[in-house]
């Protein structure tokens, strides 16, 4: 399983969403997006969920958000979460 990681914590809005949507366009069955963000990116989560992606988001103890998005519905995103 190939991780495509992006750390958008230092990026100004809407650059995180722009980068994430670009990655989602090219996401394959054997890859997933692992995104770090300062905030819960509601538009991205809505958008990915609407399109049938599997989505997982979790806040860590520092207040950063870990967002995992995969095309394959059978991938265990919980197991890939680093929180």
């Amino acid at each position: 399983m190939r991780e495509i990681g992006i750390d958008t914590r230092a990026l100004e809005h809407p650059e995180p969403l722009v980068q994430a949507t670009k990655i989602l366009q090219g996401l394959t069955e054997d890859s997933y997006l692992y995104m770090l963000h300062r905030k819960k990116p509601i538009p991205l989560l809505d958008l990915a969920g609407e399109q049938g992606f599997q989505v997982l988001s979790r806040e860590d103890a520092q207040g950063d958000w870990h967002i995992l998005i995969a095309k394959d519905p059978d991938i265990d995103l919980e197991a890939l979460l680093r929180v």
């Binding site: 905030k39 809505d46 609407e50 399109q51 095309k71």
Partner: protein, 427 residues
């Protein structure tokens, strides 16, 4: 980029909803410019029909339109509140609201036609109270509240109070009520409207967007948790207590001013702590707006302490300048983003990028126009003929804004008609 259907209507605010409220606000802005031409220096007499008309063109026609545009956009994005059937919801508000504002403005100029106040109330109060209660009910039911969503809830509560107080006033003016408490209600109405609604909504949204848009350290927890509640509590207690002790408003206004000065200084400090050194027009609009708020509150305190009319007039110009600067900052973030986002969500992978929807230099030019407008209004206090230039610049400023909306909308429609779609092939 995504499926042919794009986002469902309850997943994201439809672009047309936000566009039409921004466009309505800009149209009222053009009217405001025309009114300055018409009334000239009479606008500086706070009790005159000219000042009342211009004030309500600003607070109702311009600001309320813009703030509903922001609320329709921001509630789902930063509070996770989904308004069902947002297009019809927006239309139920938009048309009675626009007609009601025009009737109210006419009523101020034809006080002998008291039915105009009644007709304006019939259009404005039910539509605005309905949308306020609708948004409030959604916010109350939220499980996970942020400081922004809590602040929005309190600001909407303040708007509800403003509307009820306004209803009392229009009923008094039409003769249905005796209006014994008219002076007390009037002070409570504008205080709650200017500080409890406009300032509080801006503060609440800023808790989220300053950090999110500009990568700054967050506001201190104490400020996020207690500032909206303190501000609203202060205004609410004064509203009630001032029926017995009207002088209390002087103290309340001074305390409100101090709270807002603190907020302005803190936000300016946060903007100076940005990680990115380059400042675009929206950062400068925020800085300008906050500086105007700082000056407006300082002049308000001086006016309250000395009674010098000039300081009152200065505050009356600087406060709208603050609110409009923040609206313009939000506008130049929201319109390009929405255009790009909705086209992407509908699958147009050749969707124009945000800088192609509104070029950063275009926003910067508007900043200069806006700044010059404010300066000419301030100078007009000393040299009234300058109001001709202020009026022209006001029309240019809102015309500029309207053109950006039309341009973004045409680009959006053009991409929809001619753009190539991307297939995601998700089951």
């Amino acid at each position: 980029m995504f499926s042919q259907n794009g986002l469902s209507l309850d997943q994201a605010p439809p672009i047309s909803v936000v566009f039409r409220f921004f466009a309505l606000g800009a149209l009222f802005g053009l009217l405001g410019g025309g009114l300055v031409f018409y009334y000239q220096s009479a606008i500086f007499d706070a009790a005159s029909p000219a000042a009342l008309t211009l004030t309500h063109t600003f607070t109702l026609g311009i600001m309320l339109s813009f703030m509903f545009a922001a609320l329709f956009q921001m509630l789902p994005v930063i509070a996770g509140v989904k308004l069902t059937a947002p297009v019809s919801t927006a239309n139920f508000l938009l048309y009675p609201f626009a007609a009601g504002v025009l009737l109210l403005l006419a009523a101020f100029n034809m006080p002998q036609q008291s039915w105009l106040f009644g007709a304006a109330s019939l259009l404005l109060v039910p539509s605005l109270l309905w949308i306020t209660l609708l948004m409030l009910s959604k916010l109350v039911r939220l499980r996970d509240h942020s400081s922004s969503s809590k602040g929005m809830l309190i600001a909407l509560l303040a708007l509800g109070i403003v509307l009820i107080l306004a209803f009392y006033m229009t009923l008094s003016l039409t003769g249905y009520l005796e209006g014994s408490y008219y002076p007390e209600v009037r002070t409570a109405h504008y205080s709650m409207g200017l500080f409890g609604w406009i300032a509080l909504l801006i503060i609440s949204i800023s808790f989220q967007v300053i950090e999110m848009f500009y990568v700054t350290p967050p506001y201190p927890k104490l400020v996020r948790r207690y500032l909206p509640l303190t501000l609203f509590g202060l205004l609410f207690v004064t509203t009630v207590a001032a029926f017995w002790l009207p002088q209390l408003w002087v103290l309340s206004h001074i305390l409100t001013a101090l709270l807002l000065v603190g907020y302005a200084v803190l936000t300016l400090r946060r903007l100076s702590q940005r990680k990115r050194p380059i400042a675009d027009a929206t950062v400068w609009f925020w800085r300008l707006g906050l500086s105007m708020l700082l000056l407006a509150m300082t002049t308000l305190v001086v006016y309250k302490l000395t009674g010098t009319a000039l300081f009152g007039n200065l505050a009356e110009i600087l406060y709208p300048a603050f609110a409009l600067s923040i609206v313009f900052a939000m506008f130049y973030k929201i319109i390009p983003f929405l255009t790009w986002f909705h086209l992407n969500a509908q699958g147009y992978f050749a969707a124009p990028m945000m800088h192609e929807v509104i070029h950063p230099k275009t926003a910067m030019k508007h900043l200069y126009i806006h700044l010059t407008t404010v300066v000419t209004f301030l100078l007009a206090l000393f040299f009234a003929p300058l109001l001709f230039i202020s009026a022209l610049l006001t029309i240019l400023s809102f015309g500029w804004m309207l053109w950006q909306i039309v341009h973004a909308w045409r680009l959006y429609r053009h991409t929809q008609k001619t753009g190539e779609k991307f297939e995601m092939n998700i089951a």
